[in-house]
C-alpha cells in the first residue's frame, strides 16, 4: 500500500483496555472501541487501530505504518517506553523519517476523551512535521562493538538520530538580526560572512534558537514551531486545559503527567518555552500552564530564565486583575503526582468549531494575547510592566535629538521600527506589538541618549498599534527640488563639520544638492 500524503496512522496498545491489571488501580481502563471511534471522527484522514502488545513489541511498527498507508505515525502506549530508540529504529525500517513517529504515554489515563485529545494532538503534530534534511540529523551510536562491520551497523539499530538546528537561509535576515547567535546557550551558532551557521558538533539540540528567531527560519525536526503550534492548538480544544510543558530530559520515573490531569507537551528544553508561549496558551483557553524542567541536570542552564518568565507572567496577570495568578502558571516540582489544578479558563473556552491557529514566536500574536487577557479581565489601559522576561519591548525616542536617519529601522529585525520616506519627508513609526526587546535599534542609533528600549509590556502602547515617533521634513535640492535627506539629519551633519577646514564648500554640496545634482555640479 503506498502512503498517502497527509495521512496519519495511530496505533493504540491493546493493554490500555485495563484487563491486564497494569497500574490502573481498579479502574476499568479505557474503552478502546469508543476511543477508536472518537478519534476517527475527530481527526481527518487518519487510520486508527488497536494493537496487541504494542508496548512490548515495537517490531510491529512497520506493519502499522503499512496498514495505515501513512508516513506519519502516532503510537499510544500504556507504559513509558523503555527505549524510544527501538520504536524509532523500527519506524526507520518502515522507511519513515526518524522524527515522523510520535509516542504518547497514556499510562494511567482513565478518561477516553483525554486520551483521544492527546492522540489527536500528537496526530496534528505529526501532520505538521515537514521532514528532516540531512544536515538536521545528527547520528549517534548507542553501543559499539569493534568487530562489527559497518554493513551490519547499517542494517541493525545501534544508531540513533538526534535533531540539530538548521537555518533556512532564504528566510534568515542574516547580519541584520543575529539573535540566534546570542541566544544559543552553547555558543554553537556563529556568524560567518554575515550568515549564521550552526556548528553541528556543538549543537546540543535544546531548541532555544527556534523560538528566538523572529522569522521562523530555524528548522528543527521534531521540535519545529509548526509542530508545536498544531499540537497546542489541538490541546486547547479540551475544556479547561491544564497545559504542561515538560523537558524531554525531565525526571521520567514519576507518574505520567497525563494521569493526573495535565495535558503534556514535550519540549527538548524548557528554555524554548518563552513567556509569549505561556501568554498565548492562557489567552487561547488554557486554565493553567505548568512547567517542569530537568532541574539540576539542565545543560543549557534555563532554570533561572524559566523562573523569571513564570514570575513575569504572574506579575502581569496580577496587574491585569486576575485572582490568584500563582495558580495559573507554575513550575511543577519534579514529582508530578499531585492532580493538576483546573480552574475555569482565564480567557473563556475557545469555540470548538473555530480552532485558533497559533503563531508562537510571533510577537504580534503575543501582543494580541495580552490584549485579549486584558479585555477579559477588564484591566485599565495604563499598565506598564518592566521585566527582563517580557517577550515584548518598548522603545522610547527623544524627538529633539532624533535626526530621522533611519538607522534604527534598518537594524530592527521584526519591522517594529519603520522609516518611511515620502514626498513630505521621513516618518519614523513604531509598533510595540512587533517589538522583541533585542536592543539592536538602541545600539544602531548614532545619537547619544536618543533611543532607548526596555523589556516591558505596555498596554497603552500595545493598544495604539503603530504610532509615529518622529516626523521630519526633507531638505530639498536647490537645483531640482527633490528631497535630499531629513532636514534634521543635515543640520546635525552641519553642526558636526562646521569647524573643519574647508567645510563650507563640502557642506554646501552635501546638504543643498541631491546626489544626482552633485554630480552635475561637479561637471
Amino acid at each position: 500500500m503506498t502512503a498517502k500524503p497527509g495521512r496519519v496512522g495511530i496505533g493504540v496498545c491493546a493493554d490500555l483496555e485495563g484487563s491486564s491489571g497494569l497500574d490502573l488501580e481498579g479502574s476499568s481502563g479505557l474503552d478502546l472501541r469508543v476511543l477508536r471511534r472518537e478519534l476517527a471522527e475527530a481527526v481527518p484522514n487518519v487510520h486508527v487501530e488497536v494493537v496487541p502488545d504494542l508496548c512490548s513489541r515495537p517490531e510491529q511498527t512497520p506493519e502499522i505504518a503499512s496498514r495505515a498507508g501513512a508516513r506519519r505515525l502516532v503510537l499510544g502506549l500504556c507504559a513509558r517506553p523503555a527505549s524510544r530508540h527501538d520504536f524509532q529504529a523500527w519506524a526507520r525500517k518502515a522507511g519513515l523519517d526518524p522524527f515522523a513517529l510520535e509516542l504518547v504515554s497514556l499510562k494511567g489515563v482513565r478518561t477516553g476523551s483525554v486520551a483521544a485529545a492527546l492522540l489527536a494532538a500528537a496526530a496534528a503534530r505529526a501532520r505538521a512535521f515537514a521532514g528532516s534534511e540531512p544536515e538536521q540529523l545528527k547520528l549517534e551510536l548507542l553501543a559499539f562493538e569493534r568487530k562489527r562491520s559497518r554493513r551490519a551497523l547499517f542494517s541493525l539499530p545501534p544508531i540513533t538520530y538526534r535533531a540539530v538546528a538548521g537555518i533556512e537561509q532564504e528566510s534568515c535576515l542574516g547580519a541584520r538580526c543575529g539573535l540566534c547567535v546570542s541566544a544559543c546557550p552553547f555558543g554553537a551558532i556563529e556568524m560567518i560572512d554575515g550568515r549564521p551557521s550552526v556548528d553541528r558538533a556543538g549543537c546540543m539540540s535544546c531548541g532555544v534558537c527556534v523560538t528566538t528567531c523572529p522569522t521562523e527560519a530555524i528548522r528543527f525536526p521534531g521540535a519545529s514551531l509548526p509542530q508545536y503550534e498544531a499540537e497546542i492548538a489541538a490541546l486547547l480544544s479540551v475544556e479547561r486545559a491544564a497545559l504542561f510543558f515538560g523537558c524531554r530530559h525531565g525526571p521520567g520515573d514519576g507518574a505520567a503527567p497525563a494521569a493526573v490531569g495535565w495535558l503534556p507537551v514535550e519540549v527538548p528544553c524548557l528554555g524554548m518555552v518563552t513567556s509569549g508561549w505561556i501568554l498565548q496558551a492562557l489567552a487561547g483557553g488554557a486554565s493553567v500552564v505548568g512547567l517542569l524542567s530537568c532541574g539540576e541536570r539542565c545543560r543549557s542552564g534555563c532554570a533561572a530564565a524559566v523562573r523569571d518568565r513564570v514570575e513575569y507572567v504572574r506579575a502581569l496577570l496580577r496587574r491585569l486583575g486576575a485572582s490568584s495568578p500563582n495558580e495559573r502558571v507554575m513550575v511543577v516540582p519534579g514529582d508530578v503526582s499531585r492532580p493538576a489544578p483546573r480552574p475555569a479558563a482565564l480567557a473563556g473556552q475557545p469555540s470548538p468549531h473555530r480552532r485558533r491557529s497559533l503563531t508562537l514566536s510571533d510577537p504580534a500574536a503575543t501582543a494580541e494575547a495580552v490584549l485579549k487577557l486584558a479585555e477579559r479581565l477588564g484591566a485599565a489601559r495604563d499598565l506598564t510592566l518592566v521585566s527582563g522576561a517580557s517577550p515584548l519591548g518598548l522603545v522610547a525616542l527623544r524627538k529633539e535629538t532624533c535626526t530621522a536617519c533611519g538607522a534604527c529601522a534598518a537594524a530592527c529585525p521584526t519591522g517594529a521600527l519603520d522609516a518611511e520616506e515620502g514626498g513630505e519627508g521621513t516618518l519614523i513609526s513604531y509598533d510595540a506589538g512587533l517589538c522583541v526587546p533585542c536592543g539592536r535599534c538602541a545600539r544602531a542609533c548614532p545619537e547619544a541618549d536618543t533611543l532607548s528600549v526596555r523589556a516591558a509590556t505596555d498596554l497603552a502602547a500595545l493598544t495604539s498599534r503603530r504610532v509615529v515617533l518622529k516626523r521630519e521634513p526633507a531638505a530639498r535640492c536647490r537645483r531640482c527640488g527633490r528631497p535630499v535627506a531629513p532636514a534634521a539629519m543635515l543640520d546635525r551633519v552641519r553642526a558636526l563639520l562646521q569647524d573643519e577646514e574647508g567645510a563650507d564648500r563640502l557642506l554646501e554640496v552635501l546638504t543643498e544638492l541631491c546626489p544626482d545634482c552633485r554630480e552635475l555640479e561637479a561637471m
Binding site: R92, P134, L137, L141, F154
Partner: protein
C-alpha cells in the same frame, strides 16, 4: 538500506526509475545535457569540484591535481577509458569512495580492524576535503534550475543525503573506535 533515515528520498528516486518509459528516457538525456553539459565548467550545474571551489577559474588545475593525488595515494588513477575526463568529476569522486568502502569491508571481513580503520580515515578525509565541500553547492544548483519532479533533482538529493549520512556515520564510528578499550577489541 531501509533503516537509512533518508530512505524516502531513495524510494522516490527508485520509483521514478522503475516507471521510466523510453520516451521519458530520451527526455532524461536532453535534461542531462541542459543541466550539466552545455557550457561544461560554466553550465547551470557543473559536475566538477573545481567549478564550485574556485569561481575565478584560476586554480582549477590545482584542485583537480589535488584530487588526483588523493587517488594516487590510495593506489588508483582515472582510467584512460575516461577519455580525458577531469579527475574532479563527481562521478569519479563517488566511485573512489565506493572503492575505499569495498576495501574497508574486505578488511573487516578478514578481521583486520586497524586496516579497516585506516580506510575509514581515508574516506573521512576525502569526504571532508573534497566531496562535501562542493556537493551541497551542486545540489543547490540543481534544485534552483529543476522542477521538484525532476529525476536529477531526486538523484542529487538522494546522493547528498547519503553522503552527509556517511560522513556522520564514519565520524561516530571513528570516535567510538578511538575510545574503545583495546582489550575489548582483542577479545
Amino acid at each position: 538500506m531501509r533503516a537509512f533515515p533518508f530512505f524516502p528520498r531513495w524510494r522516490s528516486l527508485l520509483d521514478s526509475l522503475e516507471t521510466l518509459t523510453d520516451e521519458a528516457r530520451a527526455r532524461l538525456e536532453e535534461e542531462y545535457v541542459d543541466l550539466f553539459l552545455l557550457g561544461e565548467l560554466h553550465s547551470a550545474c557543473p559536475l566538477y569540484e573545481s567549478a564550485y571551489l574556485d569561481r575565478t577559474g584560476r586554480s582549477r588545475g590545482v584542485i583537480a591535481a589535488g584530487v588526483e593525488q588523493a587517488y594516487a595515494a590510495a593506489g588508483v588513477a582515472v582510467s584512460p577509458a575516461a577519455q580525458g575526463e577531469l579527475p574532479d568529476h563527481v562521478a569519479f569522486e563517488l566511485e573512489f569512495l565506493s572503492l575505499l568502502c569495498a576495501e574497508e569491508a574486505r578488511a573487516w571481513r578478514a578481521g583486520l580492524p586497524d586496516e579497516a580503520s585506516d580506510r575509514m580515515g581515508r574516506e573521512r578525509d576525502f569526504l571532508e576535503r573534497h566531496l562535501l565541500r562542493f556537493l551541497p553547492g551542486l545540489v543547490r544548483a540543481v534544485k534552483l534550475v529543476s522542477t521538484s519532479s525532476s529525476f536529477y533533482r531526486r538523484l542529487a538529493e538522494a546522493v547528498h543525503a547519503f553522503v552527509v549520512h556517511d560522513r556522520d556515520l564514519i565520524g561516530a564510528l571513528a570516535e567510538a573506535y578511538a575510545s574503545a578499550p583495546k582489550a575489548a577489541s582483542e577479545a
